[in-house]
């Protein structure tokens, strides 16, 4: 199978993730969009690693996974704190700072 298909798939997943971030209102869903973008990146990394016959890309995917996990933890902590204060995770309700 043509290996560029995987790159296309990665790009599509990335675009879906980015669209989710830009259009959805729920902080958790927005954050899931970011995660989808990161996973699309991982797919791109391993595909290119295969393409170049080079293991670096696979190692990089590990790093992205770990960073994503760290991001999840910090992000969920912030979102949960806000949720406990306001009983809502909608980014539209977060509007004290008008900018």
């Amino acid at each position: 199978m043509d290996i560029t298909n995987y790159v296309v798939l990665a790009a599509v997943l990335f675009a879906i993730g980015a669209t989710t971030v830009l259009l959805r209102r729920n902080a958790i869903v927005v954050f899931m969009g970011v995660e989808l973008m990161l996973n699309a990146t991982n797919l791109a990394f391993v595909t290119f690693a295969r393409l170049h016959g080079d293991l670096t890309g696979q190692v990089l995917a590990f790093f992205v996974m770990v960073v994503a996990a760290a991001e999840v933890v910090v992000g969920l902590a912030i979102i949960v704190t806000i949720f406990r204060t306001r009983r809502s995770a909608s980014v539209d309700d977060v509007n004290l700072l008008k900018g």
């Binding site: 990146t41 902590a77 704190t81 204060t85 977060v94 509007n95 700072l97």
Partner: protein, 603 residues
């Protein structure tokens, strides 16, 4: 066969000292008893930053002669990178001094327990038992270490990890304000969601660059010749149509991720909100240090790409330059125009920071090698003025006064509780008479930001604009000067209010303001924003709006603006910043000579 890499530990020493101290700080949190924690952490943090700077000073003569690539470029210590590290260490030191100051009120700017829900009895209990969130100091160290690494690597993955190491602590720090906690948490959420989005864009760009070159290092590993982004561009891999698209798209995404951290338009939306919501000392730290790290990283990425592309494909190079030029113009325009209608000091400084990102980009867009030196000088001048200015903001506070119960100029806490910062510009009226020295320092920082001669900002702007001009972008330099003139207007507006207007709470003309408190919240924690003209003798709560949901008017009280005394650290930081601003403006040559040495960024 695997061979263990040789590691130049001395070159890593500044990073190891700062990040290692962060790790030790976490252990301090675990093992040192609560009473001694705060002092231990402050000493540890300041010592680590000073130690890191000492190592940078030791490394300097060696690096200027011979840049070092550690482990094949994971850390690439060029004079430019080391200079950026030094500036970050200095600014972080000053920033931590402001953070550490509890002022005469005996409270620092941070929530007793940041995880407590605002307005609950648990929060109240934590406040009364005097808890403190000393975790902020290790977090600051991690952020500072991440920034130093961010500015000094050739490897895009290391850059990504450094980006997260500097961002994640900042997201958390944003959410820790003692007062206006909802705003603070909101700022953290916004910063986090947009920051995560930007870093996802960045890393996808890295993936595309990796797809193009088979490597994420620009210069590549000396032990593996021919592997690297620049060798790949040069070796004609760029000939294939599809591959070149990968490179352009990848570089653009990486640059977008970096521009977000720089706070350039159209990726600036988070800046005003986050700067307003975050605890003010953190805002100062973040505004100064993050800007240095992000601009240093951006300059290195752009100029390294330029080295590769310039010879191979001048057309793409021209387009890349155009992107930066457009972003610079937009950033200056939004920063100065929107900034001039702000009514809140912190927001005004936030838009000023956006405008400065624009001025910096004007220099960067020139794409000539002198720009490195002038950029470093600009970052130093801007950082010093920013930390000083936000330091002053932490000291200008609101105080609740019950009419008839106290003297107007009595000691702090005598007749009223000191509340949060008075950030409305209108409230700063008459500050010149209340605190002449503080006002003078603040005026100095504003003048430096405005780029008035004899301050550091003038030399900095001069450098940035000549950088653009000598790169052939005369008209951009002219636009930069025009934007500076507009910016001068809005700094002067604030100065006029401070020095020439009479204070609203001047006893000669008493103004009654009503404070509204939330049931359950202790005195001093209500969120009150006074908004302008309440006529004399008004009894209704027209001038005050509370942002919390359940509100109840308790007593008719006045909110006046007071300047609390620093307990030392913040005063030292402000004084150092003020002196440095003048010295850099009047005798810039020694520092200019230093940054001149730093204009080399090729290992």
């Amino acid at each position: 066969m695997f061979e263990a890499p040789e590691i130049d530990w001395l070159a890593l020493a500044p990073l190891i000292v700062v990040l290692g101290a962060g790790v030790v700080g976490v252990l301090v949190e675990a093992f040192v008893p609560a009473r001694a924690r705060r002092m231990t952490q402050i000493v540890l943090t300041l010592a680590a930053l000073a130690g890191g700077f000492a190592f940078i000073a030791v490394l300097w003569p060696q690096i200027v002669v011979q840049p070092v690539q550690v482990v094949g470029g994971s850390v690439t210590l060029t004079p430019f990178a080391l200079g950026a590290q030094g500036i970050i260490a200095v600014l972080a030191f000053l920033g931590v001094l402001v953070v550490a100051d509890r002022t005469a009120t005996g409270q620092d700017a941070f929530a007793p327990t940041a995880s407590a829900v605002p307005g609950t009895s648990y929060e109240d209990l934590a406040r009364r038992s005097g808890l403190e969130q000393t975790e902020i100091y290790p977090l600051l160290l991690f952020a500072a270490g991440g920034m130093m690494l961010f500015a000094s690597t050739d490897d895009l993955i290391v850059m990504f990890i450094a980006l997260e190491v500097l961002s994640l602590p900042l997201y958390v720090l944003c959410a820790t304000a003692r007062r206006r906690r909802l705003l603070s948490q909101e700022a953290a959420a916004k910063y986090f969601l947009l920051g995560a989005f930007a870093s996802a864009l960045f890393i996808f760009g890295v993936a595309l660059i990796y797809g193009f070159a088979g490597s994420v290092r620009f210069f590549g590993d000396p032990s593996r010749p021919g592997v690297g982004v620049l060798p790949a561009i040069q070796s004609g891999a760029a000939q294939g149509e599809g591959m070149s698209v990968l490179l352009v798209a990848g570089v653009l995404l990486v640059v977008v991720g970096l521009l977000f951290k720089v706070g350039a338009v159209p990726f600036h939306a988070w800046t005003p909100d986050v700067y307003t919501g975050a605890p003010t000392p953190i805002t100062g730290f973040m505004a100064a240090c993050t800007k240095v790290a992000a601009v240093a990283a951006l300059v290195q990425v752009l100029y390294r790409v330029a080295i590769g592309v310039q010879t191979v494909d001048p057309e793409i190079m021209r387009q890349l330059q155009m992107v930066i030029v457009v972003v610079a113009v937009l950033t200056m325009a939004v920063g100065t125009i929107v900034g001039s209608v702000q009514t809140d000091v912190k927001r005004l400084l936030a838009y000023s920071s956006i405008a400065h990102a624009g001025f910096l980009l004007v220099g960067v867009a020139g794409f000539n090698s002198q720009v490195q030196a002038s950029t470093l000088f600009y970052l130093l001048a801007y950082g010093i003025a920013t930390i000083g200015a936000f330091g002053v903001v932490t000291l200008v506070r609101e105080r609740r006064v019950t009419p008839g119960s106290g003297e107007h100029n009595g000691p702090v806490g005598d007749d009223g509780v000191v509340l949060g910062e008075a950030t409305e510009i209108a409230q700063w009226a008459g500050l010149g008479r209340k605190a002449p020295w503080l006002t003078a320092a603040f005026a100095l920082f504003l003048l430096s930001m405005a780029g008035i001669p004899l301050t550091a900002g003038f030399i900095a702007k001069f450098g940035a604009f000549t950088g653009a001009a000598s790169g052939g972008l005369w008209w951009l330099a002219v636009l930069g000067v025009l934007a500076s003139v507009v910016a001068v207007a809005f700094y002067l507006r604030l100065l006029v209010v401070m020095v020439f207007q009479r204070a609203q709470d001047d006893p000669a003309e008493p103004l009654v303001k009503l404070a509204e408190t939330t049931p359950g919240a202790a005195p001093g924690e209500a969120e009150v924003s006074t908004s302008g003209d309440v006529s004399t003798g008004a009894t209704a709560g027209a001038g005050a709006t509370a942002t919390l949901t359940t509100v109840q008017v308790t007593t008719a009280q006045r909110i006046e603006v007071t300047v609390v005394r620093s307990r030392g650290p913040a005063a030292v930081a402000i004084a150092v910043c003020a002196v440095a601003t003048v010295i850099l403006g009047v005798f810039p040559s020694p520092v200019l000579a230093l940054v001149e040495q730093a204009s080399k960024f090729v290992p």
